[in-house]
Amino acid sequence: MSIFSGESLFCIRAARPVFGGLDFALREGGALVLTGPNGSGKSSLLRLMAGLSPPAAGRLSWDGEDIADDRQGHNERIRYLGHLDPVKPVLSVAENLSFWAAAAEESDIPAALAAFGIGPLADVPGRYLSAGQKRRVNLARILVRISPLWLLDEPTTALDKDAVGMLADVIAAHRAHGGMVALSTHAELGIPGAASLDLSDFPAFMEDAP
């Protein structure tokens, strides 16, 4: 049984301490919802989890092994969704996705598009998409390569009610197959049995601070 955990994580962004002494653990089928006011470090924590930036202190581990020791192995396990939607304006929706599917052993692009209700847009160039449609394409990207851990940073941005429902269904299906998900959100997504982590509970307190 896989377990993804972080111990006494400390995060510094641009010389400013963001949070400290943070622990979490995610088991198969688990979900972690990050909450907290703007600037409390939700995105920073997800970037630490993805391995995009190293924690200032503490460690992140998968089955007890530090993720920094095997970056490519960790990359194979995760799907990350950030603030930006990398949809190339000159490529069609299907072409955009097929590039991100290139590293996958098998991928089902039509199914990924259908899961977010954008099947009919497959041949539409990225430049004609609305913000919400781009976000749906980006979410469909998560599905084209099967990975156990999803890290979603504000996945509901620009999504309408229907799409939020689809996202909840997709996450439920992912967890039913033993997948894990960590996400930050301000909206109510309706994830049953999710652990909640309020980042304002982990102030970056420094003992000798002036």
């Binding site: 993805a50 391995g51 995009l52 930036s53 190293p54 490519q72 990359n75 194979e76 995760i78 990350y80 950030g82 603030h83 930006l84 939607d85 990398p86 949809v87 190339k88 000159v90 490529l91 072409e95 590039f99 991100w100 290139a102 590293a103």
Partner: protein, 221 residues
């Protein structure tokens, strides 16, 4: 390897659909060279003398012009952080982007260069050597330039900074590239210059992808 090819394919199709980028680089190259007869006068003996140098400097500036966008667009739309999270080494991804950069700028420049050599009245003996030297030299420019392009990610006025960073590093390639053509035009062997250009290429191939990938990681942190 399949990831490498997928990356090259994607960047090539982006370059072809956006179309203008490589055309602009070639047009810039041609225009810079065409300016010289106006600047130094149309005397054939002067133009013939300076032809290899003019073509090389113009090629160098044209490569420079296109380098800024090497990582910039992917950085701005969030693709670059996802590329760093793909299950292949970032060095491979960077190398694929460098290859595409050469295919879309270096190669068109090489194809255009004989025409410009003709325009400046360069001796016909020099053509194969000019093309050979550019074939060895322009990939080095793309490789070295990629390190600069990765270092300026997130900087304001990156383009100016990039030229300050990279142009001095282009000088050795320029010297030996021009000297190879001059050698053959004056009746000497160009072998030594080609060997040096080849050595530059191999050394930058061994070092630049790692340096550029490290700079990209730094920019994403």
């Amino acid at each position: 390897m399949s990831g490498f090819l997928a990356m090259v394919r994607r960047d090539l199709s982006l370059a072809f659909r956006q179309g203008m980028d490589s055309m602009i680089v070639v047009m810039f190259f041609v225009l810079v060279v065409v300016l010289f007869p106006f600047g130094v006068g149309p005397a054939p003996n002067i133009l013939t003398r300076i032809a290899p140098g003019v073509i090389w400097v113009a090629a160098l500036l044209a490569v420079m012009l296109s380098l800024e966008r090497l990582f910039q667009t992917d950085f701005e739309d969030g693709s670059l952080e996802l590329l760093a999270l793909e299950p292949r080494s970032l060095e491979m991804t960077v190398l694929a982007k460098i290859c595409t950069h050469w295919l879309t700028t270096g190669l068109p420049l090489i194809i255009a260069s004989p025409l410009l050599a003709l325009l400046l009245g360069m001796g016909s003996k020099g053509y194969p050597v000019l093309i050979g030297a550019l074939l060895l030299g322009t990939p080095t420019l793309s490789l070295i330039g990629a390190v600069g392009a990765a270092l300026i990610l997130g900087a304001r006025r990156g383009g100016v900074l990039l030229s300050l960073l990279v142009l001095p590093l282009f000088i050795p390639t320029l010297i030996f590239g021009v000297s190879a053509v001059d050698a053959v035009l004056t009746g000497f062997s160009y072998k030594a210059q080609f060997l040096v250009l080849g050595a530059f290429l191999l050394a930058s191939l061994a070092l630049a992808p790692w340096a550029a990938a490290a700079a990209v990681r730094q920019a994403l942190e």
